[in-house]
């Protein structure tokens, strides 16, 4: 039976990725109106695998098996439905071709497998991130279709109720139908705006994973990995292979490279000063710089470019002391000019403290002290606490840390802040 091999016969997240590809191929041929039908058929196929593989073993080319099962299921499901009579032959042929492609790339690397249905997956991504959908719906629908998450997983990621997410998805599909959103690549005139919407969704997804807002887990790695995977597809597609795509990808890769070091061995939060830089993922850093280089081939400068530049300053530095803080400050100033926000200003202050000292940093923060969003943001208070402590003002530092603990944050962050507060006295 070769059972030992079977255990290792499935690449990580194969079902998730195959869900994405099959749904995309089906929607291409059934039409955007029938997204839910496509999702249903694919779900059935995966359940069939779940029922059969334990007994039969994992097939030699699992992807090809799933495509074949999808073809059978689709034919079975659609052949008596007149509405699809003219579409079934093309869908059948597409799935036959797809199966052949998987058989051809078997044994080769992940990249080859990921590119098999690239065009369809990119079209699906554009559809799920359509600007006519509310932003929350774009993220949910993207995770559901091309991400391969189910409702419960999306709900967990966003600390929402299952029913809320399910409802959001139903409405999103309905709206796509109402607006007759086409399953296609955007034309040249609208490409830039449509791509901005997609990149915005991926950025949001990544950030949600990167800085979880509450709960026990500081990082939701799957959200980060999914955002990176989808952005890699955009970077690989001739139509979306644009500098800003590479800039976002570089940013995410360079940030993700440092994730393993953000938690120390005990699972507690570890700040930059204390991070073990040997735990930074050098492979991701190398990929990040590759895309940063590609991002620079054009005259467009986006916020993603600047943030990737900031991340690259960290990534190349051997230690906090050897970091090029003035360069980073210059990037933050450009970012403030391009896309001003209180959070960017707060991050800039941290960098400013490295360049000009804590007093200058605190003074810069006083300028936005009455921002209501910042006052609810735990890091706003935490940064001020750290700066005050650096100046030896323990009374004020304690006050800030106490204020930080009043805000919503993750459990590791809460423990970290409490430890900082305790260390003051």
């Amino acid at each position: 039976m070769g059972a030992e091999e079977q255990v290792h016969g499935l690449v990580d997240h194969l079902f998730r990725h195959q869900h994405a590809r099959l749904v995309s191929i089906m929607v291409r041929h059934l039409g955007g109106r029938h997204l839910d039908l496509a999702e249903e058929v694919v779900q059935d196929v995966l359940v069939t695998a779940l029922q059969q593989w334990p007994f039969q073993g994992v097939p030699a080319v699992p992807e090809a098996w799933l495509v074949r099962a999808a073809r059978n299921r689709a034919i079975d499901r659609l052949r008596h439905d007149r509405a699809f009579a003219d579409r079934v032959p093309a869908l059948t042929q597409a799935l036959l071709d797809e199966e052949a492609r998987y058989n051809a790339v078997q044994g080769t690397d992940r990249i080859a497998r990921d590119r098999v249905a690239l065009d369809d997956e990119v079209c699906m991504l554009f559809m799920a991130c359509h600007p006519d959908l509310p932003r929350d719906s774009r993220v949910a629908l993207t995770l559901k279709t091309v991400g391969g998450f189910n409702v419960a997983e999306i709900a967990r990621a966003f600390l929402a109720q299952d029913a809320t997410i399910a409802q959001r998805l139903v409405r999103a599909r309905q709206r796509l139908r109402d607006r007759a959103v086409a399953f296609d690549l955007p034309g040249p005139a609208e490409l830039s705006d449509r791509l901005d919407s997609v990149l915005g969704v991926l950025y949001l997804m990544f950030n949600e994973g990167h800085t979880a807002h509450a709960g026990e887990s500081l990082v939701r790695r799957d959200l980060c990995d999914t955002a990176i995977r989808l952005c890699e597809q955009l970077a690989a597609h001739p139509v979306t292979d644009l500098p800003k795509t590479h800039a976002l990808l570089a940013l995410m890769l360079l940030q993700a490279a440092r994730l393993p070091a953000r938690l120390c061995e005990t699972g507690e939060l570890s700040l930059l000063d204390a991070q073990n830089r040997e735990r930074w993922d050098q492979n991701l850093i190398a990929r990040g710089f590759h895309h940063l280089d590609r991002a620079g081939r054009g005259d467009e400068l986006t916020a993603y470019h600047l943030q990737a530049g900031i991340a690259s300053c960290h990534a190349v530095a051997a230690s906090v002391g050897e970091t090029n803080w003035p360069q980073m400050l210059a990037y933050y100033d450009q970012l403030m000019a391009l896309q001003p926000s209180p959070v960017v200003w707060l991050n800039r202050a941290v960098v400013l403290s490295r360049v000009e000292g804590p007093r200058a940093a605190l003074a810069s923060l006083d300028a936005v002290n009455d921002d209501p969003v910042l006052r609810r943001y735990h890091l706003w208070h935490a940064v001020r606490g750290a700066l005050a402590a650096e100046l030896g003002d323990t009374g004020e530092a304690a006050e800030h840390y106490r204020a930080a603990l009043q805000c919503q944050c993750t459990e590791p962050e809460r423990r970290f802040l409490a430890a900082r507060l305790a260390a003051l006295s």
């Binding site: 059972a3 029922q51 997983e153």
Partner: protein, 118 residues
């Protein structure tokens, strides 16, 4: 050594509640479980049964009644079976307790009656 069948009853909760990732995880646990059994020579066979209702035959008076079934409830459907060997029920339970089928169904263990040598 005594032999047993593990009858796998499908659960009332549908498998569709699993996400793609969770389905893959269950399949991988099955792979690991069966690999362990195969290695120790415990596993003799196993098959999945089709999801459709089978046929139930009953002799009533002189007539044979053939009905589709058992339908009624999903929990009565046997989704498949494994054939294993074990020293006794206690060991059979030990083997079955890690069976990933328990993630979504129940397992019934029955010893196969050995015929005495004639």
């Amino acid at each position: 050594m005594p032999e047993y069948v593990l009858l796998l009853y499908d659960a009332e909760t549908p498998m569709t509640r699993f996400s793609p990732d969770e389905m893959q995880a269950v399949i991988q646990r099955y792979g690991a479980w069966m690999a362990r059994l195969a290695q120790s020579g415990t596993l003799l066979g196993g098959q999945k049964l089709t999801d459709n209702a089978g046929r139930v035959l009953r002799k009533q008076e002189d007539k044979l009644a053939v009905t589709d079934g058992p339908y009624t409830e999903l929990k009565e459907m046997i989704g498949g079976f494994f054939h294993i060997k074990a020293d006794d029920y206690q060991q059979a339970v030990q083997i079955a307790r890690d069976c990933p089928h328990l993630e979504y169904g129940t397992v019934e263990i029955r010893e196969i009656e050995r015929t005495a040598p004639v």
